[in-house]
Subunit: 419 residues, 2 copies
């Protein structure tokens, strides 16, 4: 786990998210030019769409990089994934013979706008961090009934809404919804007053399936990972979620970071899920370490004040890995598709400051947290949330960039503009 | 509401589903030829893809009928919807001048294979029939707590899995899943023993939206309707559904009938939702009749015995219309897309024989129903379920064709084939 050096100097700095070891995949545009596939290296983006057109990158079954989405490469399969990664490492390594020719295809990240890196087929969200489930369960059902009876037997998940997935930087409009307070006889239709973030990782499926998958096979289908913020309206959720689960509370938006960090880049950081408290059924047992050691942090920046880090945790806190979640997802024969996105569920650690949502950090609003000289129970208008994530090697890190979103005030009358 | 006569003689018979009044949209193929767009008329299919290529059908912004899916026409908007329907009525009406030329583009339904008529963007399923919700609630929570507190305030819905939607006729494999009996300490992984159908209507969105929709606007976005069978594994559902709703229990398959019956064809059969038991919030109130009077029936055919009708009900039994469901779906700002499919939820009437699922018909298995000289609590291997639906005019009907599926035995070892 040491730095692999690149001729792109900024890729060799200890604090870059994008050394040669990483090589994450995004879709970017520059003023006047259409979105296209690119690879982050240091503070630059390599225009791989142009390199494929120039014949410098040639993939079997190609062209695969001309569609402003990474789905064609994913669809091409694991050999294509390995071939592209290998070619990129060759082209970008220190001493590469073609470095001068390639410089013309480097674009500064500062000048680029990022887009969704893949076409989201369907979106599933899980509830698979032990501490998050216990915290939320304690708040809603008391400490003795904190974990639902099924929780230690399966990764609990629900289908989300793919149409609501947006790229980092997209502004998020506070939603309206049906809200009923504990003392209200009937609900009212109003803007959410308990709007929240959820710190998650997203796993992206790069291959389809049409029947039950083992955990090993599921793991091999995962193309890469992103940071994911599943924006959640807790007051809408509390009233709507029985008996069929969250619906509009989770449908406003889900933000993802713009760079797909591949499973290949994360391989050196594999780690095991925690010890099982209940033996899993064989179909959920893991043949090896399936989680990753990725430090995660959440920063909140009020509109007129500087950012404050409000949570730090790690992806290894998950009780179930993405591979286990995917295996469970297919038990019924559910067909999976290239571009399916699986949210890990909120990632919380054991300490108060390692909780991945304001609901937990402020204990349902009862214990507001300090944010500089302000306090927060839930998100206020104008707040920007920023997630960061890093797997750390010796003197380098494999980072995810950022997953940010600013929350705008609710519309005065949501029906004025649209009907 | 009288029959409009066609020069296609079989379209004038009282018992056809497809008179000139209907003109539903499907995708069909014949041996050796690729799937293409067609319109049902009597016992024939008009090859409208060929007619568009020949210039006999010319739509603004076209071609719109060349993609083996009706999504391009839907995307083109309501003027295109009206223009095509008007042109088809002209071409197929009794006395039409071009009838001889058109005969060459008629294909017998008996010789055609049907495909999914549209690309399903996302699938949402609701729980919006009063009798179904009360029946299921009584079984699970007792008569006093039958309806969840939110039920009379909003159409309860959850996101399903678009990848699992299949066309009528597709065989359905009994799923495996985690099952825990009431007396079991822990779950086991086994084939579902309580596999069920759900009689539903599906509404297909023909236009996108990006903010809260009024009920009137939502209604205008619905392109058409299909019969829908949301296959459900009750034993998997009972163990998995708390707290985030059904997941693998509903992910094996959802079958739809192959013909999209347009909202335009159903307009003469509009009817109002039942009287409100609790006043709805303004955003859910309907400006006019938003349901349809559509007789529905379910037939069960055991593998080695004739079919028996086991349920009859009507779409007007819904407490919430598809337009209300769609309006609620958008409250949070959830973006909707062309090709989104909204399942009504199981449609049950007040009588025992008007219940739209075996769970209700057999009262959770406690009161098995007679099927010829057999009995059924849940579906047995080899059973074929067949739904039919008709709106009835004077001497004619607007029908949906059939939504059928045969249930195959579970795989011996689901991991043998796939991992």
């Amino acid at each position: 786990m040491s730095l692999d050096r690149s001729w792109v100097e900024s890729a060799n700095e200890a604090e870059t998210d994008f050394p040669l070891n990483n090589l994450p995949y995004g879709v970017f545009s520059t003023p006047g030019e259409a979105p296209r596939c690119g690879v982050a290296i240091g503070d630059m983006i390599l225009d791989v769409a142009a390199l494929e057109r120039a014949g410098i990158i040639a993939l079997r079954g190609g062209p695969l990089l001309q569609s402003a989405t990474w789905n064609p490469l994913m669809t091409a399969g694991t050999e294509a994934w390995a071939a592209l990664r290998s070619r990129l490492r060759e082209l970008l390594a220190e001493g590469a013979s073609q470095s001068e020719a390639l410089r013309a295809h480097l674009v500064s990240q500062a000048e680029a706008r990022m887009h969704l890196p893949f076409t989201v087929a369907e979106f599933t969200d899980f509830y698979a961090s032990r501490h998050h489930a216990a915290n939320v369960g304690t708040m809603f059902r008391g400490a003795e009934n904190a974990l639902p009876p099924n929780w230690l037997s399966m990764p609990i998940g629900y289908n989300g809404r793919a149409s609501s997935v947006v790229v980092s930087g997209t502004e998020i409009r506070r939603p309206w919804g049906q809200i009923k307070g504990p003392d209200d006889a009937l609900p009212r239709f109003a803007p959410s007053e308990r709007f929240d973030f959820e710190l998650e990782m997203g796993a992206i499926l790069g291959q389809p399936s049409n029947g039950p998958l083992s955990v090993a096979k599921a793991d091999a289908m995962i193309f890469g990972y992103v940071l994911l913020n599943d924006w959640s309206a807790r007051d809408i959720q509390a009233w709507e979620y029985q008996p069929l689960g969250p619906f509009q509370a989770k449908a406003t938006a889900t933000s993802i970071s713009p760079w797909i960090v591949t499973a290949a880049a994360l391989a050196p950081f594999r780690t095991s899920t925690p010890e099982r408290e209940r033996e899993l059924l064989p179909y959920l047992q893991e043949p090896g370490p399936m989680l990753y050691d990725i430090d995660l942090e959440v920063e909140l920046a009020p509109e007129w004040a500087g950012p404050v880090t409000i949570a730090r945790t790690n992806y290894r806190e998950m009780y179930y890995s993405a591979a286990q979640q995917l295996a469970h997802h297919t038990t019924s024969g559910c067909p999976m598709r290239v571009g399916d996105l699986l949210g890990s569920g909120t990632i919380s650690g054991p300490a108060r400051e390692s909780r991945g949502a304001l609901l937990e950090l402020s204990w349902g609003g009862k214990e507001p947290i300090a944010v500089g000289d302000q306090t927060r129970s839930f998100i206020e208008d104008g707040d920007t949330l920023r997630f960061r994530g890093h797997a750390r090697g010796d003197g380098y890190r494999v980072g995810f960039g950022e997953c940010t979103g600013k929350v705008l005030p609710a519309l005065d009358d949501p029906y004025k503009a649209h009907c």
